[in-house]
Amino acid sequence: MRILIVEDEQTLLDQLKQFFVAKGYAVDAAATAKEAQYIGEEFAIDVAIVDLGLPDFSGLELIKRLRERGCEYPILILTARGRWQEKVEGLEAGADDYLIKPFHYEELWARINALIRRSAGKAHPVLTYGPIELNTVTQELFLNGQPVELTAYEYKVLEYLMLHEGEVVSKTSLTEHLYEQDFERDSNVLEVFIGRLRKKLDPEGTLKPIETLRGRGYRWSLRKTD
């Protein structure tokens, strides 16, 4: 998942970046609204955290501009201004959720997770596909009830594919959503991750959860079960 964090307080921005990197996110950080607008419009962002009080123009204005330019990813407002009138204005401007500073990181994490799931049309944090279960909160994978070890990048790829179940996800798109902008992108690395995931998810080779569509990309082919 690729997250855009917009915050003018450098220490907090660094902390947020560190936190989300640790959670396996590709993080794009911006300290000004202009920079954020550029990143938000140009890159494949999955979710954004926006502070309202920015030095050049307000976070509210940034959200409006992003929405006007067709950016549909979920946006969470993170601000010190916590009056209800301001919350309503923020949500009406196009934000999807609102969190007041200072905040608990667990709460921020839960809300970001919920926003990503919601944008993918998944209400429950546990994505279940037959014997495969992925807990997006604890970032744990279970196969037939048994835990399966995943590396951070394997988890990222798996979560992204599951959240886009049935959709063809190109290698480029997958790379864009999983890696930060200055990361050296090598499609062979992605193929290796997919190969490893297939072995971990389907050691018998009976489920075939990840389809490869030649020249087009990959598709999560299993249907979600309750």
């Binding site: 307080e9 010190a80 309503v88 919601r118 209400a123």
Partner: protein
């Protein structure tokens, strides 16, 4: 009542002055008229004395010859009210035919001396005695006293008539003056009344300053009051902004501090202390910030429609709690309040947010205007219900205390309901908790309008 109305005070003072003035004037005029009438009687009686004197003659022997042809016919008509008498040496020697049965006492007078007096014995009479000495041919002077009496009835009638006319006119003039005084006072005090209305509007938040055109005597006061109001408002705004800025500027460093134990992994002990202290500071900042933001029972410039605000809150919360798929029913007729918009958002937002947070699926928000009754002022009522688990009885008091939360399992700082309660109290409203039809929370808020007549016109 007198203390409450300047108009009434002035009217009573003017009325008392007018009564005193007309009272003294009436008494003085009545006295003057009485004196003048008395003097006129005396003069008339003096004239009758001279007439009588002219008709008296002496015979050859020097005895008084009774006058036969009296020039004034009333002397000859019995009971006419005009009587003539002649005394000699304290003996009545002649009385006019009209004085039949009428007696007056003799008086001792020197020649040329007059005495005017009122006799109230058998009859009430004004009497003028006049002493003369009749010189006879044999040089033996004859002392005589001529007296003319007139019935007082005519004078008393005149005085009575005069008094009636006088007091009728004075009374009429007094009432007219009092009415005019009242109108003048009303007109003169109109600027004061306008100033009072302006001040009421300022108090209710409908006006920012005294805007009326006041006479020169009041314009200085109005200017000073405006300066005072502006200064007070600026001071309050500065206070609120400073407090809000302070609170906001503290929040980001607090967020950084909270991030330390998440990201930098300090030792467990420091992390726990840090987390507790940041929590404490955060609660203080949140609470003081929301208190600073509440305007504190002040009205607004114009009535604010409640339903659109609730619609915006509900739409926003539908977005935030989208994954919960809450079914929220918002019902309400056209309803106004006189709160500052931010205050309405704050208490309604917190209540509806709690309902969304703690419900299973259902939330109901109802708003309705409340008309004034004998026991209750006009205002509006807001009811927020959910189908959650409700608040256990032992925790119901606790939820109003800042920092206290009935449910520790959800997000939040425990500030919401304390602020809701505080805002409602600042606006002299009430907040009641009961169990909803589904067994969850049911919050009922009533907020009275600050000025009742305004409310009636707005509703």
């Amino acid at each position: 009542m007198v203390r409450d109305s300047l108009n009434l005070r002035l009217l009573i003072a003017a009325g008392a002055t007018l009564i005193a003035f007309f009272g003294f004037t009436g008494i003085a005029l009545e006295k003057a008229f009485g004196d003048a009438a008395k003097k006129a009687i005396q003069d008339r009686l003096q004239a009758h004395i001279y007439t009588l004197l002219a008709s008296v003659e002496l015979d050859d022997k020097g005895n008084l010859r009774q006058p036969h042809h009296l020039p004034e016919s009333r002397f000859t008509t019995p009971g006419s009210g005009l009587y003539g008498f002649i005394f000699n040496d304290h003996k009545l020697i002649w009385r006019s035919p009209s004085a039949l049965g009428v007696t007056i006492p003799p008086q001792s007078l020197l020649s040329g001396e007059t005495r005017f007096l009122r006799l109230q014995e058998k009859q009430d009479l004004w009497v003028l005695y006049y002493g003369i000495t009749w010189e006879s041919l044999d040089d033996k002077p004859i002392p005589m006293i001529l007296a003319v009496a007139e019935d007082t009835q005519s004078l008393l009638r005149q005085i009575k008539d005069f008094r009636q006319t006088l007091w009728a006119w004075l009374g009429g003039a007094g009432i007219l003056l009092l009415i005019m005084q009242g109108l003048i006072l009303r007109w003169s005090l109109r600027p004061l009344r306008a100033m009072t209305d302006d001040l009421k509007d300022i108090e209710a938040g409908r006006k920012q300053q005294l805007e009326g055109r006041y006479p020169s005597e009041l314009s200085g006061l109005a200017n000073n009051l405006n300066i005072l109001l502006q200064s007070e408002r600026a001071h309050m705004e500065r206070y609120r902004h400073t407090l809000a800025d302070l609170a906001h500027s503290l929040k980001t460093p607090l967020a950084v501090l909270r991030g330390i134990d998440q990201v930098d992994e300090p030792c467990r002990e420091i992390s726990s202390v840090l987390s507790d202290q940041v929590d404490r500071m955060q609660k203080l900042v949140d609470y003081q910030l929301q208190r600073a933001a509440a305007r504190g029972g002040r009205g607004t410039l114009e009535p604010l429609q409640v339903v659109p605000v609730l619609e915006r809150i509900v739409t926003s919360l539908d977005k935030v709690y989208a994954s919960k798929e809450v079914e929220c029913e918002l019902t309400g007729t056209e309803c106004y309040c006189f709160l500052e918009e931010g205050d309405l958002y704050e208490f309604a937002g917190n209540l509806v947010d709690n309902a969304y947070k703690y419900c299973h699926k259902l939330v109901r928000v109802q708003v309705a205007p409340v008309s004034a009754t004998e026991n209750q002022a006009a205002g509006f009522k807001l009811v927020v219900e959910d189908d959650g688990s409700g608040i256990p009885i032992i925790l119901r008091e606790e939820v109003f205390r800042r920092g206290k939360r009935a449910d520790e399992s959800t997000d939040g700082h425990g500030i919401g309901l304390a602020v809701v309660d505080e805002i409602i109290q600042l606006h002299h409203g009430t907040l009641h908790y009961s169990q909803s039809r589904w067994g969850g929370c049911r919050w009922e808020v009533f907020i009275p309008h600050p000025i009742q007549e305004e409310a009636d016109s707005a509703q």
